[in-house]
Structure formats: structure tokens, C-alpha cells
Amino acid sequence: MTPDKIIVIFLGFVGIGFTYWYFLMKKDNAVEVESSVDIAVDGGYSPNTISIPKGKTTTLIFLRSDPSSCLEEVVLPDFKIRKFLPLNKKVNIEITPKESGTYEIVCGMNMFHGKIIVN
């Protein structure tokens, strides 16, 4: 086997390993939220994971600056909410979780994900 092929195999493994580590092994740190939180929508949701109290109303204020059509809608399926996020315009979503657990925030095409942890 020629050296260039060995290098390609090596780089291929490095690429696969890096992709796995970069995308599939990330850990989210939950941001504690009391009554309201600003969520930037740009290549995903930031903060991506929020922790909110049970039984209290929390306002999630979404501001989308990403023109990608993937993120134009935000869906909170457990709360039966699907909202269009106009570009550069704040959209308030109020939720009052009645039970503890982890709920998801997803984009309209189900490609971007965030988490709401209710304690």
C-alpha cells in the first residue's frame, strides 16, 4: 500500500472519529430559569437546555436571526405549541409545566433540538 493511501485511511478514521465526537458526544449544560429566558435562534437554540420550575409560568422569548427555513418554526410538542418565528422579531411563548420531566424544543423540520428540564 502506498504512503498516500495509508495517509488517506488514517485521515478518514480521524475524520469519522472527530465527527462522532463533535456532533454526537456533546453535553448540554442546563441554564436555570426563573420566570423568563431569551433564547437566540441561530444555528440552533441558545441556551439549548433550560431548567425551569414545575407549576410556574415561564416565558420563553425566542429571537430568530438565522434565515434558514429549517428554524422558521419552533415546536414544543408536549405543550402543543407550533409557532412561526419571524426573522429578528421576538416571539413570546408561555408554558406552565404541570409535571416534572424533560420536554423537547424542536424546529419545524425536526433537525434542531433543545431541552426543557422541569424540576
Partner: protein
């Protein structure tokens, strides 16, 4: 004074002092009672006297401080404008990129190259033509990829950005450093056509997808659009036109022929026929007279009437329907779970497969060019969007179609379960029958006269809420009888009532009540059987421990019942009737509507247990009831269907609400669920199958056997059409007959 509380968006605020300034300006405005400004939501909530202050005046006060108060929530208009802009933008980019891409293709594609002008064959010209496509038309891909990568996430844009950058980057190196490439033993041949045409085609796919996606939520827009803009209300003897949001509960509203009814209410005076098809799906107009309810957004046809507003704004039936449909469209169907899991790993896996493809082609075939082209094809052909769109678009169209036919579906899970239903239990009273029983026979068995029997019965039933009691009281009122007051009244669930009317101790109820009180029915058994065989409910009256007579009450079967049941039986669904009536009465009614399995003499609190019993037989059970009395049974069933008029209680308790009370809608609802699920399954099959089959083809799996290798351009055609086809397939649901 007409106090109004309303929220207005305020533009231009940056800090807490802006809040103070705007709040003060609003509070100083004449007629404003209170104003609260929220910086986070950029909204002012103002309570003001609508007689002395208008939103226009509020806007003027805010304008003086240098900020802007927007009079209307322009979200809908803003969304529409944004969508229009997006489509225009996409169209321009498609034209430019496909135009330039075709020129490059003409100058580089074998077979076409001979017919092209010489300058188009020049690599530098191709390079310059490709730059605007890659970095202007394709900017959206980079714009989405970079922040996503920062968050360690990736989506379809990442794949397109990676794929076209590889093709463009390789071609740029070949063009700018041909010697370097030659030294590596590769013929310097650029592939700008691949990068440009791929971008053009994917944008074209997005253009069609955006157009189609806009139509999936059309039902809600249509429903909102039904609303009247103004209402003519009568205040201080004068008729004035006011905007819809200024109509208050208790206002008297006048509606003339051909006008839309602005808000929900009860007719005070006049009569008319009203077209309610927009809410109920029922095409025949219904006649309305004094005391009848009218629903906002329906159309008055012939007469003029005044009515009292009972529900306005968010409480109105239309607002509730819109809210329910919006909620259903925001919910997730359980079938989506698998697609969810796969799509969360999909893009990283495709990137890993692209690495594998490159390594295999380079190492085993030894061609850098084929390795690059196959890698680009893998990145381009993968389409996670189709998987993401498969379920929600069908749910959106399905729930929307339901709403326009008077079928309100609570959430996606209910819509999904409904297609598996194989047994439907119908409550009798109010569901199979009109729920308005009338007294048909009053039979005395001793010296007490029939009129006196009816008077005593009406007196004791006055305090009861049962529909049979209502029939007796109504009959007594019709005969202008003097109803006495009752003491020691007691309703015994599933039995009847007891109490003291004057000096008499009265028991009125069914056989069970008489058995309990040890009153013999031997002398009237034949008579009871005769009445019950006619589908009548017989109540026995006992005065001071002695049987005095029988009162028979009958309810009329709904016109739609027989056809509705037949439609379900044709679908292979077993129909069951549940009732508190005794077996003979139940049999008579069931025979009229065509039901063979009957659960009779079921006490109200046993209905839930009966539902569970049938479920234990392994059946998927739907319960159809009126949504108020049957709430536990509706909740216990796999799918609870309420024949409601859109009241809060009915909507809350049921998975599906049939606003038109038409029994044929039950079969329609099941059919809608079946059709929607078929669309979802087709979409998922296509979206999964597409990726499972075409990704290996792009990797070159067919090459060793047939020498077939997928060009990245064909990959982009397939990719662009996959999500469009999924959305279009969902839109086909609009046309199906349910």
C-alpha cells in the same frame, strides 16, 4: 364607560428607562386607566376607556416620546411579507445559479462542449461565473452552517455547504494551480458545473417546498379569515358600528340579511335562517328563533334579528376552534418517534459515510476524482428534511381538513389512534337520539286522575336535571298545570327520584326504584312491556307506597343515525349502544338504528367500566357521547368522541369533537384518520426508502456490478424533489373524500 384592556407592540425600546418613558406617556393620555410596558416582550398592556380614548391617541402619545406603538399585531402581515420576500429571493437565486450553471455546463460537458463558444470553455471564465453562485446564491447554506457548527449541531445546510465547497474548492485548485495537479498525475479538470447546478437545483427544490408548505396551514388562515370585521351594536337606543374587539358580553347586536354574525350569542328578537357550514360543515342552513344560540362567523341568510352577545374574543367558538386546531398541529404523533430518533443522528452519520466513501474509492479504485465526486454525491443526496416533514405536514393538512368539516381533533396522537378503532360505543340519549324526550303516555292504574299524576310527577322532577325529568316538566307546563314545591328531594342515580309534594310521599323512577321500595309491578307488567317494545322509557309513579300509574317518555332517533351506523359497519367496525334504559326499550331503539350489540341498564358511573370491559376483549374502542355526562367513559376509551356544540367541557373531555352533531361524521373522522395515517406512512416510507436506497448508490455500491455511478447533479435533482414530493403528498389529503 367602556373599559378595554389591550396589548400593543412598542418598537425602539432598549432599556428600563425606555419602559418608564413609554409607561408615563401612556398613563398621561386621557382615558387611560393603567399601562404596563414589558421590555422583554416589547409590548404595552393598556387599560383604557374606549369612550374617551382610541388606540390612535395612544399611538400619538408614544410617537411624541420617539418610540412607535403599533396599532395592530402585524404578525400575520409580517409573516406573509417575510414569506413573499423569501420566495422572491429564492426565485432570483434559482434563476441566476441555474443560468450561470447551464453556461458552465455548456462549456464543460462532453457532447455539448463542441457547440459552445470558446470563452465558455475557459476554466477561468467558469471560475468567475461560479463565484456568485457559490457565495451569493449559496450564502444561505454557509449562513446556516457556521452557527450550527458552533453549537455542535448539523443539518441539511451543513451537508450542502460541505458538498458544494468540496466540488468548488477542488475545481478552484485545478483552475488556479493546474501544474500542481498535473504533477500529482491527475488531469486538471474542474467541476464548477457540479457546484453551481447542485446549488441551483437545491434552491429550486426549496422554492417549491416553501410554496407547498405555505398551503399546509391554510385551514387555520381560512378559519381566522371567517371572522367579521365589525359589529352593529345597540347602545342607548342607537345602532353603531364598532370593531369586533370592542363588542362586550351583554351587548345587543343587530344582524341584517346577508351579514356575518359577529360574535356568539342568544337571539332576543326576530328569526332567520343561518348558514353554519363554515363552522359545522353542515350545508343546510338552520332556522333560528328567539332563545336559540348563534355562532360568530356564521352567515345570516334571510331575516333580521337582535341578539345578546354571550361570548366574545378568545372565548368565542371560532377562537376555540382555531386554538384547538393550532394545538393539534403543534402536537406530535407517536408514529413520528422513529423518524425523530433517526433524524437526530442522521447528518453526522452521513458525514461519516462521506469519509468512508472517499477512503474506499481512493484506496481501492485509486482515483482521487471519483473519490471526490462520490463523496460530494453522498453529501448532496442525503435528505433529512423529507423525514422531518413526513409526519407534521400530513397532520397539519389532516387536522385542517377535519376542522373545515366540523371535526375537531384534539391532538396528533388522537388522530393516529382513531385509525385503529374497531369498536365504537354510542351513548343513546343525546347521541343516537335527539336528547329531547317527550311524554307520550300517562296511564293511571288507580283512582288518581292522569292530570293529577302528571302534576305530581312534574312537581317532584322540577328539581332534577335528567332529560326525562325535563320532558315531564315541559309537558306539565304545556298543559298549564300548577307545579308545587317539593321537600326532602333526593335523586337516586340510575333509579329515579323521591320527595314530598304537599302531604304525599312520592317515588318516581324505573323498575329498580320500585324493587327497592318493594312496590309490586305485577298488575302493570304487560303494559310496561308493550310501551318498552315501542322504544319508550317507562317511569312508574308511586304515591304513599302504592303504585298509581305509568308515564312513558320517548326520544326521537336522529336522522343521521341509521346512515352513520351503516357507514361504520361497512368499514368493518362493530357498533355498540350503551344506555341506562332497560333491555326492551334499548332493543327497540337499537333496532331502529341498526345496532345489534346492546349494553342496557348501565348506570352512569358504570359506563366507564363497560368501556374497559370491551377493551379487555382486545378491542380498540371509541366512545361517542355528549361530552358532559360521559366524561369518564370518554376518557377511558382509546378515542373519546364528543357530539358537542363546541362547549368548553366537550372539547376538554374528548379526543375528537363533532361540532355538527351529525352521526355520519363519526365515520368521516375515522376515515380522515385512516387517510392521514396512510399519507404519513407513504411519506415515511418514501423518506426513509429514499435515503436507505440512494445513499449507498451515491457511495458507489452499483459500480462494481453495473459500472453505475451517481453524478452529484442527479443527486441534487433527487434531493430537491424528495422533500417537495413529501409535502405535495401531504397536500393531496386536502382533496380526498372523507
Amino acid at each position: 364607560m367602556t373599559e378595554v384592556k389591550k396589548s400593543f407592540p412598542i418598537k425602539g425600546m432598549h432599556c428600563a428607562s425606555c419602559v418608564r418613558v413609554t409607561e408615563r406617556a401612556l398613563k398621561k393620555t386621557l382615558g387611560v386607566k393603567d399601562a404596563v410596558v414589558n421590555l422583554a416582550s416589547e409590548k404595552a398592556t393598556v387599560t383604557y376607556d374606549a369612550d374617551n380614548c382610541t388606540p390612535q391617541q395612544l399611538a400619538e402619545s408614544i410617537a411624541k416620546t420617539g418610540y412607535t406603538l403599533e396599532l395592530e399585531e402585524k404578525t400575520d402581515t409580517a409573516i406573509k411579507e417575510e414569506k413573499r420576500k423569501e420566495l422572491r429571493n429564492l426565485r432570483n437565486k434559482v434563476i441566476v445559479s441555474l443560468g450561470l450553471g447551464c453556461l458552465i455546463l455548456w462549456g464543460s460537458f462532453p457532447g455539448l462542449i463542441q457547440t459552445s463558444p470558446a470563452f465558455l470553455q475557459n476554466f477561468f471564465v467558469q471560475f468567475i461565473l461560479a463565484i456568485p453562485v457559490q457565495f451569493w446564491a449559496g450564502f444561505a447554506f454557509y449562513r446556516a452552517t457556521i452557527p450550527a457548527l458552533k453549537h455542535r449541531t448539523a443539518n441539511m445546510d451543513t451537508l450542502v455547504a460541505l458538498g458544494t465547497t468540496v466540488a468548488f474548492g477542488y475545481s478552484a485548485i485545478v483552475t488556479l494551480f493546474p501544474q500542481f495537479v498535473k504533477q500529482a498525475g491527475i488531469e486538471p479538470m474542474p467541476y464548477f458545473d457540479v457546484a453551481t447546478i447542485v446549488i441551483g437545483l437545491i434552491l429550486l427544490g426549496r422554492y417549491f417546498e416553501a410554496k407547498a408548505k405555505g398551503q399546509t396551514s391554510e385551514a387555520i388562515k381560512k378559519l381566522i379569515g371567517l371572522q367579521a370585521k365589525t359589529a352593529r351594536i345597540v347602545r342607548d337606543g342607537k345602532e353603531i358600528d364598532v370593531p369586533l374587539d370592542q363588542v362586550l358580553v351583554g351587548d345587543t347586536v343587530r344582524v341584517r340579511p346577508g351579514e356575518k354574525i359577529p360574535v356568539d350569542g342568544v337571539i332576543l328578537e326576530g328569526e332567520s335562517s343561518v348558514d353554519e357550514s363554515m363552522i359545522t360543515g353542515e350545508s343546510i342552513p338552520s332556522d333560528k328563533t328567539k332563545g336559540d344560540t348563534v355562532v360568530g362567523a356564521t352567515m345570516n341568510k334571510t331575516g333580521t334579528f337582535t341578539y345578546k352577545a354571550t361570548k366574545v374574543g378568545g372565548d368565542s367558538m371560532l377562537a376555540q376552534i382555531v386554538k384547538l386546531v393550532q394545538e393539534a398541529q403543534g402536537s406530535k404523533a407517536p408514529i413520528q418517534r422513529l423518524a425523530d430518533i433517526i433524524s437526530s443522528y442522521f447528518v453526522p452519520i452521513v458525514i461519516m459515510l462521506a469519509f468512508v466513501t472517499f477512503v474506499i474509492w481512493y484506496v481501492f479504485v485509486g482515483s482521487l476524482l471519483l473519490a471526490l465526486l462520490s463523496t460530494v454525491a453522498v453529501l448532496i443526496i442525503a435528505c433529512p428534511c423529507a423525514m422531518g416533514l413526513a409526519t407534521p405536514t400530513a397532520i397539519m393538512v389532516g387536522t385542517g381538513k377535519g376542522a373545515t368539516n366540523g371535526i375537531l381533533i384534539k391532538d396528533a396522537a388522537s388522530l393516529e389512534t382513531a385509525h385503529k378503532i374497531n369498536t365504537i360505543i354510542f351513548d343513546k340519549t343525546g347521541t343516537l337520539t335527539n336528547g329531547k324526550p317527550e311524554v307520550t303516555d300517562v296511564i293511571s292504574v288507580n283512582k288518581l286522575k292522569e292530570d293529577e299524576m302528571l302534576r305530581l310527577s312534574a312537581s317532584i322532577e322540577k328539581g332534577s336535571e335528567h332529560s326525562l325529568a325535563e320532558a315531564i316538566v315541559k309537558e306539565a307546563e304545556k298543559r298549564k298545570m300548577n307545579i308545587e314545591s317539593v321537600t326532602k328531594f333526593k335523586a337516586i342515580a340510575g333509579h329515579g327520584v323521591e320527595g314530598l309534594v304537599g302531604k304525599y310521599q312520592i317515588f318516581l323512577g324505573n323498575r329498580k326504584l320500585m324493587e327497592r321500595e318493594k312496590i309490586s309491578l305485577l298488575s302493570v307488567n304487560t303494559e310496561i312491556t308493550r310501551l318498552e317494545n315501542g322504544g319508550k322509557t317507562v317511569m312508574m309513579l308511586a304515591v304513599d307506597g302504592k303504585l298509581t300509574g305509568l308515564i312513558a317518555v320517548a326520544d326521537t332517533v336522529k336522522e343521521s343515525a341509521k346512515e352513520g351506523i351503516k357507514a361504520l359497519q361497512r368499514m368493518g367496525i362493530e357498533t355498540v349502544m350503551i344506555t341506562g334504559d332497560n333491555q326492551r326499550t334499548a332493543n327497540a331503539i337499537a333496532q331502529k338504528v341498526g345496532i345489534t350489540r346492546i349494553l342496557s341498564e348501565v348506570l352512569p358511573d358504570q359506563k366507564e367500566a363497560e368501556v374497559r370491559k370491551i377493551q379487555a376483549e382486545g378491542k380498540k374502542v371509541a366512545m361517542v357521547g355528549d361530552g358532559i355526562n360521559d366524561a369518564p367513559a370518554l376518557a377511558a376509551a382509546d378515542v373519546g368522541i364528543a357530539m358537542g356544540t363546541g362547549t368548553d367541557v366537550a372539547i376538554e373531555a374528548a379526543d375528537i369533537t363533532l361540532i355538527n352533531k351529525d352521526l355520519q361524521s363519526v365515520a368521516q373522522a375515522i376515515n380522515l384518520s385512516k387517510k392521514t395515517m396512510r399519507t404519513i406512512k407513504m411519506n415515511l416510507f418514501w423518506a426513509f426508502g429514499y435515503n436507505i436506497i440512494l445513499i449507498p448508490v451515491a457511495m458507489g455500491i452499483l459500480y462494481p456490478f453495473f459500472h453505475i455511478l451517481l453524478s452529484p447533479i442527479f443527486a441534487s435533482v433527487a434531493m430537491a424533489s424528495s422533500s417537495v414530493s413529501v409535502v405535495s403528498n401531504s397536500l393531496l389529503l386536502k382533496r380526498v373524500k372523507i
